[in-house]
């Protein structure tokens, strides 16, 4: 199971990094999302992988899984969700203001400048 999880994290982060280096906003946001999935899985694994064990003390349980990483992952998911929502709105605003979805600032500024001169 460790190997499977490691491969999944590796695959997710490599796809995420590749997409983040693209020139348009949508792939960049997708890349960020994939990277945050990878990070959440990694964080989860930092408490060791335990199967069929409760995180809360109970009378029947003989062994436990570590509850802290679960709480950390939950926090990270909430923060990541808020950030993704914000960056999507920012990207949409940039798209509606400039008419294209390039990430690069320099190209966009000159293009916007040209548009401004033309109109």
């Amino acid at each position: 199971m460790e190997a499977m999880l490691a491969i999944a994290i590796g695959l997710l982060s490599s796809c995420g990094v590749y997409l983040m280096l693209r020139a348009r906003t949508f792939p960049v946001i997708l890349g960020l999302t994939l990277l945050s999935y990878a990070v959440n899985l990694f964080l989860f694994a930092s408490g060791r992988l335990t199967i069929n064990a409760p995180p809360i003390i109970s009378a029947e349980a003989s062994h436990y899984t570590d509850p802290i990483p679960q709480a950390l992952v939950l926090t990270a998911i909430v923060i990541g969700f808020g950030m993704t929502a914000y960056i999507v709105t920012l990207a949409l605003r940039g798209l509606s203001e400039s008419g294209d979805d390039h990430v690069d600032m320099a190209i966009e500024s000159t293009e916007a400048g040209k548009k401004g001169e033309a109109s």
Partner: protein, 516 residues
């Protein structure tokens, strides 16, 4: 009542802006003067609470505040020592000035300016006060999320574009931060900073490599926040695009990264054998490169606000020398430099806003424009330019002098002196050029842009800007007490045992379970 205040003094700088930001969210639709009133009351309370905390920490050992009485290392803990109190005080002063400036009309450009502004203060103060690396992450995120919104406040293509790059970069930084935290928890089994320091002393050799990797990743994130080369290219874009009061508050955000780096290094990673050599000469080189590039950026800037953003970057480079050199005298000198550069930088951003308003369509572009600039703006520019360039008798000079004389015994002293002094010269040249362009050059009739329609700045803007300038001058007059305080802060910082003892008084009684 007094004992209650003393007991909870560590959490007040986080709690006050947090409560008021919630109240402000509810009052979003109300009259602006009511929102301004709530924000002003909250900021004044924050100033009082910060001053109280500063006084307390100067007379007491570090104060550990366990939320919900969960005893460390298991619960969430805030720790107020002199460094944290100094940072909180600084953010309260800058926050008050920026808020006063914004209350002249900038806050009306969006619905939730005041709520987000208070949230920004929550994040900054929390990042200074937290005693737990995961909460450091959370407060960083609160700070950044608020800063994203403040950066975009006022709208405009420039802002959403530089905003996108800034957010993407910081989200990638957050991912790296979380990986570092996962590694720390996976190897040491704790995220409490004091407990990390204890666990690092006894880390087994097969775990050492992973811990070193975690430390390296953590420092990378702090260096991204502190904008050290090569992770610094976002800063001039973002700071130049922000509105003047927002940029003034941002002047402290690079300092948060530096303080976090300093704290984690001096308390946990520096004293441990396995990770002692993580921060070393490479950081000195990176810091010097940052200073050099920032000096060139100052020379090349086409707008006053971009120029100031490069100045902020330059001061961040100087401050990064503190962590690797790691001596008490240097830390003390650096802390004085931190205070003065934050205040002067923020005042400069506000002044740039005033100058920009007075020049009409030419704004803060370093080109000729017709304007009837009040004399006080010119004098203000002279004062701040001299401070930023480190000319006597202003606080920038004292800060630089203390820093240079304290590093004279360090291993790379020659390189540090050369780079800082040449950068200072270039900065002087650039600022002289900028000043003569802004104030003296008159345009030919053909290329003149329309002058400002509204001439007089609002009294709040002027008061905020010149209030900060007065503090910058006071830093010269009160250099002795402040540098004494910085000495005591540095002493405390280099005695991590006190910090650890305050958080975990009896480490041997902590009940730990062996993990697979």
């Amino acid at each position: 009542m007094t004992s209650f205040l003393v007991m909870h003094s560590a959490i007040l700088p986080v709690l006050i802006p947090f409560v008021s930001s919630i109240v402000l969210l509810l009052a979003a639709g109300r009259h602006p003067s009511m929102q301004r009133g709530i924000a002003a009351v909250s900021t004044l309370l924050l100033l009082a609470a910060s001053a109280h905390l500063l006084w307390l920490t100067d007379h007491l050992p570090p104060i550990a505040y366990a939320l919900g009485e969960w005893q460390p290392p298991f619960g969430i803990v805030l720790v107020a020592d002199r460094l944290a109190a100094l940072g909180v005080m600084l953010s309260a002063i800058l926050g008050a000035a920026a808020l006063l400036y914004a209350s002249a009309g900038f806050d009306r450009k969006g619905r939730h300016f005041h709520a987000i502004f208070q949230l920004q203060l929550v994040g900054i103060n929390g990042a200074f006060l937290t005693g737990d690396v995961f909460n450091l992450f959370v407060f960083f995120e609160v700070m950044l999320l608020a800063s994203y919104i403040l950066l975009a406040h006022g709208g405009g293509l420039d802002k959403s574009r530089s905003g996108f790059a800034y957010v993407t970069l910081n989200l990638a930084g957050s991912a790296v931060f979380l990986i570092a935290l996962g590694l720390i928890y996976g190897t040491l089994g704790t995220l409490n900073l004091a407990d990390i320091a204890i666990q690092l002393q006894t880390v087994s050799s097969d775990q050492a490599a992973l811990v070193r990797l975690a430390g390296a990743l953590l420092f990378t994130v702090f260096l991204l926040k502190a904008a050290v080369l090569p992770l610094s290219f976002w800063l001039p874009h973002a700071y130049a695009a922000a509105g003047a009061p927002v940029a003034a508050l941002f002047a402290i955000m690079t300092k948060v990264g530096i303080v976090a780096l300093l704290r984690v290094e001096t308390i946990a990673f520096g004293p441990a054998a396995a990770t002692a050599d993580l921060v070393g000469d490479w950081l000195v080189i990176a810091a010097l490169a940052t200073i050099a590039v920032a000096a060139l950026g100052v020379l090349a800037a086409k707008r006053l606000q971009t120029l100031i953003a490069w100045l902020v970057l330059s001061s961040a480079g100087v401050l990064l020398l503190l962590a690797p050199l790691g001596e008490r005298e240097i830390t003390a000198a650096g802390l004085y430099y931190l205070v003065q550069s934050a205040i002067a930088g923020a005042a400069f951003f506000l002044l740039s806003g005033l100058i920009s308003d007075a020049r009409g369509a030419a704004a803060d572009h370093l080109s000729a424009a017709r304007s009837n600039m009040p004399v006080r703006l010119k004098l203000g520019f002279l004062l701040l330019a001299a401070t930023a360039a480190g000319l006597p008798p202003f606080s920038g000079f004292i800060g630089k002098l203390m820093l240079l004389s304290s590093v004279s015994d360090a291993s790379m002293a020659a390189a540090i002196w050369t780079v800082i002094l040449i950068a200072g010269l270039l900065t002087t040249v650039a600022l002289a050029k900028a000043g003569s362009r802004l104030f003296w050059e008159t345009p030919s009739e053909a290329e003149a842009l329309p002058p400002a329609t509204q001439t007089a700045a609002h009294w709040r803007q002027t008061a905020a800007c010149f209030g900060l300038m007065t503090i910058a001058v006071l830093l010269v007059v009160l250099a002795r007490p402040l540098s004494d305080f910085c000495q005591r802060t540095a002493m405390q910082l280099h005695e991590p045992a006190d910090y650890i003892h305050a958080v975990i008084p009896q480490p041997e009684t902590v009940n730990r379970v062996n993990r697979p």
